[in-house]
């Protein structure tokens, strides 16, 4: 190997394990779920996750398709066994083949199905009842299905209206809502009968839009907003949501190991090269 590419493996592992614990921990996560393919990338991910969270807190999900090489599954099981992580197998053949024409299922479709399978509560069931002594959020996330549900709710429910539909240059409070987009709510992304987003949020879009304009575009502080006459509870609620949803506006966090890292100091526009 080119010696300039050689790293100190123990140091890199230590950094990555600390990274996983620290960055996942900030969001309250102390368990991991991953797709184990039998290849080297997911095997390393599983090994790092097992070290960071404890093997009993990592669920490896095998998601073969009917034409997958059986040796991949054997390799994946071997990895999981060596690491001591529980596994669950979800055969994606039926759902992939059920889409359009079974003869034309492409790789990327299968990748999406695997993504879908990883989002399915049932994939997590084997972890039910795993004890985590001394776990801080024992009550909330003992049940991984509930945990995932909470994540999904968090990620789909509330992003203040203006952030979603704002057209540049429009005055605050008059942002058009695309027709048909009535609300976004509920774990499945479609409106639940008889409920609007505004009801669920507990405040109206018009008021929130006005507040967001001052908060974001005009850099009002919370104190400024209070002085401008906004309800303290509304301020608290909106400010908290804007901050708590920031993770959705940015690419995933990458551990900075190399001298130039994506998101930090490898800086090019998205349209670079196009």
């Amino acid at each position: 190997m080119n010696e300039q590419l050689d790293v100190q493996p123990e140091l890199v592992i230590e950094l990555l394990v600390r990274f996983l614990r620290a960055e996942a921990g900030k969001f309250g996560f102390r368990r991991a779920l991953l797709g184990l393919s039998g290849g080297i990338d997911s095997a390393i991910s599983a090994a790092l996750a097992a070290r960071a969270f404890g093997p009993e807190n990592v669920l490896s999900v095998l998601m073969p398709y009917r034409t997958s090489n059986p040796s991949s599954e054997r390799d994946a099981l071997e990895v999981a066994k060596a690491l001591g992580t529980p596994t669950r197998k979800v055969d994606i053949s039926a759902m992939a083949d059920g889409y359009l024409d079974a003869e034309q299922v492409e790789d990327r479709m299968r990748a999406r199905q695997r993504h879908g399978a990883l989002s399915d509560d049932r994939a997590l069931r084997p972890l039910d009842g795993v004890a985590r002594p001394g776990h801080r959020h024992e009550q909330q996330d003992r049940d991984p299905a509930r945990l995932l549900d909470a994540v999904r709710r968090r990620s789909q429910r509330v992003e203040p209206a203006r952030r979603l539909v704002q057209a540049p240059g429009l005055p605050a409070g008059r942002a058009p809502r695309p027709s048909g987009v009535r609300a976004r709510q509920g774990p499945v992304g479609g409106p639940l009968r008889g409920q609007t987003d505004e009801e669920e949020l507990g405040f109206g879009y018009a008021e929130a839009d006005r507040l967001l304009h001052l908060l974001v575009d005009r850099r009002y502080s919370e104190r400024d907003l209070l002085a401008a006459g906004f309800d303290p509870e509304l301020i608290r609620s909106v400010v908290r949501r804007v901050a708590a949803n920031q993770y959705k506006r940015l690419p995933p966090i990458i551990a900075k190991l190399s001298q130039r890292s994506v998101n930090h100091d490898f800086r090019y526009l998205r349209s670079w090269g196009h």
Partner: protein, 284 residues
């Protein structure tokens, strides 16, 4: 006479002033129970580092009531603390305050803001312009915030002004995992800089770096104390948060300068003359 200095290698929470103040007060208590007369926190210890648009939101004037519990605690122990300062001029600075006897005894504003690679301090902060020693009851102190140490004039100017110790708070990211480094390259480079600076300025050098992660960037720890001869007398190795107290004799700096009179033999007027010559040549 020796002074016990505690290094607080902490992991602040980004943008959470309340949590960080509580962390500081707990560390101050721990330092007092160790019998320390001074405690030094890292750069921007009250706010966290990669603040970006949060910078103005966490800025505090040096008279801010928010600092009061720490200022009050400084009646019993001297405290060096990093924060975003809102100056009277309305600008924000990367500042380090020295709290002592219930007041802000001195303050340094980072001169060399870092704006390259992953850093963009100049977008959010104004730069300090002075290296004025802080007159502490424990000795004469010069504060160099992180990058300030990487430029020679700061340490040199403090040396001219006869400081006993250089306090070097930092928020230095962990970098350099290449095989040739034997540990983190960044930590090794820092150690070398600190030892060289101590040797050349014949000062105690107290380096306090932070730990923890901010969006995938880890801070490398490696806080240490170097004596006025360039020898390390204590370090916090590794990436964990931690505490270390070191007993130092501030008079040792003066003794070092008597034994090897580098300070006596400095020729600052040559520097002035040469700078004038360079300026004149530049203007031609």
């Amino acid at each position: 006479m020796t002074i016990r200095i505690q290094l607080a290698q902490v992991e602040p929470t980004l943008g959470n002033l309340e949590a960080n103040r509580a962390l500081h007060l707990a560390e101050v208590e721990a330092a007092r129970s160790e019998g320390a007369q001074a405690i030094c926190f890292p750069e921007l210890s009250l706010t966290g580092y990669f603040l970006k648009d949060q910078t103005p939101e966490v800025a505090l004037s040096r008279e801010s009531a928010f600092l009061e519990p720490l200022v009050e605690a400084s009646r019993r122990i001297s405290i060096g603390v990093g924060f975003v300062e809102r100056g009277r001029d309305g600008r924000t600075y990367n500042s380090y305050a020295w709290l002592e006897d219930g007041r802000v005894a001195g303050l340094h504003r980072k001169v060399h803001l870092v704006s390259y690679g992953m850093f963009e301090e100049s977008r959010d902060l104004a730069a300090g312009e002075h290296y004025k020693p802080i007159e502490s009851k424990l000795g004469r102190l010069g504060v160099l915030i992180c990058e300030d140490l990487w430029h020679m004039e700061g340490a040199w100017l403090y040396f001219q002004q006869g400081v006993d110790a250089l306090i070097v708070p930092s928020a230095s990211p962990a970098r350099g995992v290449e095989a040739g480094n034997d540990g983190l390259g960044s930590v090794r480079t820092w150690r070398s800089l600190l030892e060289t600076t101590a040797t050349m300025t014949q000062s105690w050098v107290v380096h306090v770096n932070r730990t923890g992660w901010e969006d995938g960037i880890s801070f490398g720890g490696g806080s240490r104390v170097i004596d006025p001869y360039g020898a390390q007398v204590g370090e916090l190795a590794g990436l964990d948060a931690g505490r270390l107290h070191v007993d130092v004799d501030p008079r040792e700096a003066a003794r070092a300068r008597t034994r090897v009179p580098l300070r006596r033999d400095e020729k600052p007027w040559i520097l002035r003359r040469e700078l004038e010559r360079l300026a004149e040549e530049d203007s031609r």
